[in-house]
Symmetry: C2
Subunit: 240 residues, 2 copies
DNA sequence: GGCAGAGCGAGAGCACCGCTCTCGTCACTG
DNA sequence: CAGTGACGAGAGCGGTGCTCTCGCTCTGCC
């Protein structure tokens, strides 16, 4: 009993080397993911890179999909951290919004294969476990914080106060600033719209669907994100 | 010379059976794609299904990727046809818009694996050939036609007439109704935004990113698409 | 009508994949 | 000190995409 506690508190040498090797494997896998993409990620090649035989890797990851899951969670965390780092609380809502959006796009362009793993086609026959959810939500939470802060500081216009229970979840209501006169179902739906449009825009750019349509991707992105910010009231806006 | 013409006009028996076998292979491949997804699509399994040995299939498709390309083009065409069939020219712009958007979503939900092939992660190391472009553009063209018709029939509000050459391509200007007082760069960018948001919304729904956020997917989709229609002026709209 | 050649399917084979099982070794635990 | 459990290596299974060779058959031309 006491020994157990001690063992758990101070990792044994065995546990330490195991953690190191696990990290070495995930690093090699991440490198290979960045090079050849998720579909071509080969557990055998990862094993070769760390100087192991393929079967030895199975001591650390039960399957290739588990290795992919690890990369998935790491990717969500890395992207989420980048988004949070780009946010500067206290500045103008539109600036915060644009800064986070640009950071997400920059991360996606810097890690195209990882982005495709996170937001592209799901791995067939693979169900994302529950522990990926918090990491996956970080970008959305960061964007929601901007909206909530703007509402509390009075930077958002009043709403019609529309209620529509059963449209979005209570979690979304919380994430988007909770109950507030400036936040009703219309705003919440639009915030979700802006959130998915951010990734829709980036996906279209990365996956080549804008080829032949958009000439200046940088300026296009900024304009679209600004329009979305106006749509949810984060910036003084004209029009419809 | 004359013989050549005749041969080309009336397909020989050999050409006919070749066309039939090619169709049989693509049909089997489409079935397998719908079942197991693009990543797990096996050329050998397709061969087994049509009663061939794997090497024989290579007489018809040079590689697995070429088979996937065929399915890609077919998918774009099928989706494009569904979108066009849903459009009823002459009715109100918002109704046309919603009808096409709903048709795209319905097709995506009915063919999730094919949708993932079209709009999910691109196949690694695979570059879509040029002949996929026209098929891929059909949905965008259908949506653009609604906007152009609305502009010509005076259903769109006047614009500030903003010009911004180099932001979107001339093709997009043409597709979105050409030059018209009701169409300026602001509207065109928003139309592209709405287009990519349509697929961003569907992708998020299909790939599970809305789990835990959106409760009633049907109503959410309609509200978002209506907001997008208002954003580009297809419906009388309030707000910012 | 016969013949050369092209198209075709089958089969073997290569290199690779994910994954499983066994076996000898080595370090840590009780 | 003895025992046990984690570990890496290796062989092996069934699968994959793709290539090459071999006969057969059908076709178009002289």
């Amino acid at each position: 009993m006491l020994a157990d506690v001690i063992i758990r508190a101070v990792p044994s040498a065995r546990e330490r080397v195991r953690a190191e090797l696990t990290a070495e494997i995930t690093d090699a896998a991440r490198r290979q993911l960045a090079e050849v993409g998720a579909a071509a990620l080969s557990l055998r090649a990862v094993a070769r890179e760390v100087g192991m035989v393929s079967s030895a890797v199975y001591r650390y990851f039960p399957s290739r999909d588990d290795l992919l899951t690890r990369l998935l969670v790491d990717g969500y965390d890395d992207l989420g951290a980048a988004a949070e780092a780009a946010d500067v609380p206290g500045t103008a809502p539109l600036d915060r919004w644009l800064s986070v959006c640009r950071a997400v796009r920059a991360w996606a362009r810097a890690h195209p294969h990882e982005y495709a793993l996170l937001y592209g086609s799901p791995v067939p026959g693979y169900q994302a476990p529950q522990d990926t959810v918090p990491a996956a939500a970080r970008v959305g939470v960061a964007l929601g914080r901007i909206l909530g802060d703007a509402a509390r500081s009075g930077d958002l216009p009043e709403t019609a106060g529309e209620r529509d229970p059963g449209l979005v979840t209570a979690d979304v209501v919380d994430t988007l600033g909770g109950e507030h006169p400036s936040l009703d179902e219309t705003v919440r739906v639009r915030a979700l719209l802006a959130w998915s449009s951010l990734f829709g825009t980036i996906s279209f750019e990365l996956f080549g669907h804008f080829v032949g349509s958009v000439e200046d991707a940088d300026r296009y992105f900024d304009r679209v994100m600004t329009d979305l910010a106006r749509l949810i009231g984060l910036a003084p806006g004209v029009d419809r």
